[in-house]
């Protein structure tokens, strides 16, 4: 089998979602890329971010609330992982986020130069960072996408949050130059901590939202949300998405991609 994500050949439709596996350093010391078609390291910002204070994780019924707050050491530390990313036998897509248009523009410029990066996922939807949520109105979604598009010429996916009326946001982002969309980031929730809900609890909600989108418009989509089993992957593929991201399930089974991939055969 072979999957095609807007021109990039994937050996598997399974994608490691941005975040749970960090930048991949620790993960790939222990595990291989088996079963994975694409790796997306945790969102990179221009400057280092310390993230939110603990506690950052709360388990709910069938789900997980996280409030990491985009903790990361900044793009210049991330660039040091070039060797790791070159050594992987699957493509890597960078996930970026920024608090200002300048930051996004600079990040786009940096990514443009990296031939070992297959594309960029622009994260406009982290629910855990105050003031950095571009997805509150369509204008900022348009501007943010356009800004990255100015400096980054290759494959550009935009990751949006789950919203009841997402169409205008998708349209805005497309007119800003997005090639495709990752749908969706976590669902805003609160149980002791405010954060984003992920895991099986959200899947029926995401399937519903995505179904309505896929029936309406024809855009390349990577699905994200609540995948734990092969059936979940099939449910998303059935809607016509190009690839399916796995996040939280890595916590339960670090070798989940390998197992689901085998079951998909």
């Amino acid at each position: 089998m072979s999957w095609n994500l807007c021109g990039i050949e994937l050996g598997s439709p399974l994608v490691a979602a941005s975040g749970p596996l960090g930048w991949g350093k620790e993960f790939f010391e222990i595990f291989s890329t088996d079963g994975l078609g694409l790796f997306i390291p945790k969102t990179v910002t221009l400057k280092p971010k310390v993230g939110n204070p603990p506690p950052r994780i709360v388990e709910t019924t069938g789900g997980l609330i996280n409030s990491i707050g985009l903790e990361n050491d900044g793009v210049y530390e991330w660039l040091k992982l070039e060797d790791l990313y070159r050594s992987l036998d699957i493509p890597v897509m960078a996930s970026i986020a920024g608090g200002s248009l300048e930051e996004l523009s600079t990040l786009g410029e940096i990514m443009e130069k990296l031939d070992y990066i297959a594309g960029v996922e622009l994260n406009l939807s982290c629910p855990n960072v105050e003031g950095e949520n571009w997805s509150n109105n369509t204008t900022s979604v348009l501007e943010a996408t356009r800004e990255v598009r100015k400096t980054y010429s290759r494959l550009l996916f935009v990751k949006l949050p789950p919203k009841d009326n997402i169409f205008p946001y998708i349209e805005a982002s497309r007119s800003g130059g997005a090639d495709g969309f990752t749908l969706f980031n976590t669902l805003p929730a609160c149980d002791r901590i405010k954060g984003g809900l992920s895991g099986p609890a959200i899947k029926p909600v995401y399937i519903r939202l995505l179904k309505e989108i896929m029936e309406e418009i024809d855009i390349p989509v990577m699905a994200s949300g609540g995948v734990m089993t092969e059936k979940d992957v099939r449910d998303y593929l059935y809607l016509g998405v190009k690839a399916v991201q796995i996040g939280t399930a890595f916590f339960k089974d670090p070798d989940i991609a390998k197992r689901i991939y085998q079951e998909l055969q």
């Binding site: 620790e26 993960f27 010391e29 993230g51 994780i57 388990e59 996280n66 939280t248 339960k252 089974d253």
Partner: protein, 240 residues
């Protein structure tokens, strides 16, 4: 290097208010005292594994000592002989071993990592274990600790050993090192001059340092990962 093992349950029985689980993983591996394993809970309503310190190791057999506090440990306590547990580890840094005389202080389930630690210490070992009441421990369990060191007990209600909190009875004495494990308040109230290492808890997601979900704040204000930089920290690092 941590790995995912299939651990066949050989024994999973109560020992006082705790449970003692022994699994066979089919091969003998190196484990540093204080390291932990993540056990998968095969329920649909949980997405996180549960962390347990290594309590003992013999050839290909790993033992864990745990208390039932919620749905994960409740599920675990119902596993019968023969069940194949999915076990990921060993994870974390582990205690640093020194020679000489050591004091190993455990509050409640904090006693779990101390047995394997005591077994691996080259020198005299004094255990100081605290619990709410006498029934917390089984005699059999305590005798295992007695086999490898001096054992002093403290109970809150005075039903066994000294009465009060375990931290009241930590003497500076002539220890080379103090190792402590237990609730955060207990660890924070330890006040001694000798070098001390403590084992911390936090909700663990990935377990290998990637997700940044398990951080604690150190005295310097820096965030450290319990699963990778810890779970063992120098007492002086811990924010008070």
């Amino acid at each position: 290097m941590p790995e995912i093992y299939s651990g066949e349950v050989l024994e999973n029985r109560s020992a006082g208010e705790l449970f003692l689980l022994t699994v066979s993983i089919g091969k003998s591996i190196d484990i540093i005292p204080g390291q932990f394993f993540l056990i998968r809970i095969d329920r649909e309503d949980t997405v996180l594994r549960r962390a347990f310190s290594i309590f003992d190791k013999n050839d290909d057999r790993l033992s864990f000592l745990y208390r039932v506090v919620g749905k994960g440990t409740g599920w675990l306590s119902e596993r019968k002989t023969g069940y194949e547990l999915n076990i990921f580890g060993p994870l974390g840094n582990g205690f640093s071993l020194v020679e000489g005389r050591s004091l190993l202080v455990g509050g409640g389930t904090g006693m779990a990592p101390l047995y394997y630690l005591g077994k691996n210490i080259n020198g005299d070992v004094d255990f100081l274990l605290g619990a709410q009441r006498k029934t917390f421990w089984s005699e059999e369990l305590l005798s295992r600790y007695r086999d490898i060191g001096n054992l002093e007990l403290v109970t809150e209600d005075g039903s066994s050993g000294k009465k009060g909190l375990v931290t009241q009875y930590i003497k500076n004495a002539c220890y080379t090192k103090v190792y402590a494990c237990g609730p955060m308040e207990m660890l924070k109230s330890i006040d001694i001059d000798v070098p001390a290492e403590v084992s911390l808890e936090s909700v663990i997601a990935c377990g290998f340092g990637a997700c940044r979900g398990c951080i604690v704040e150190t005295v310097s204000g820096e965030y450290k990962r319990v699963c990778k930089d810890g779970p063992i920290f120098d007492l002086r690092e811990i924010s008070i």
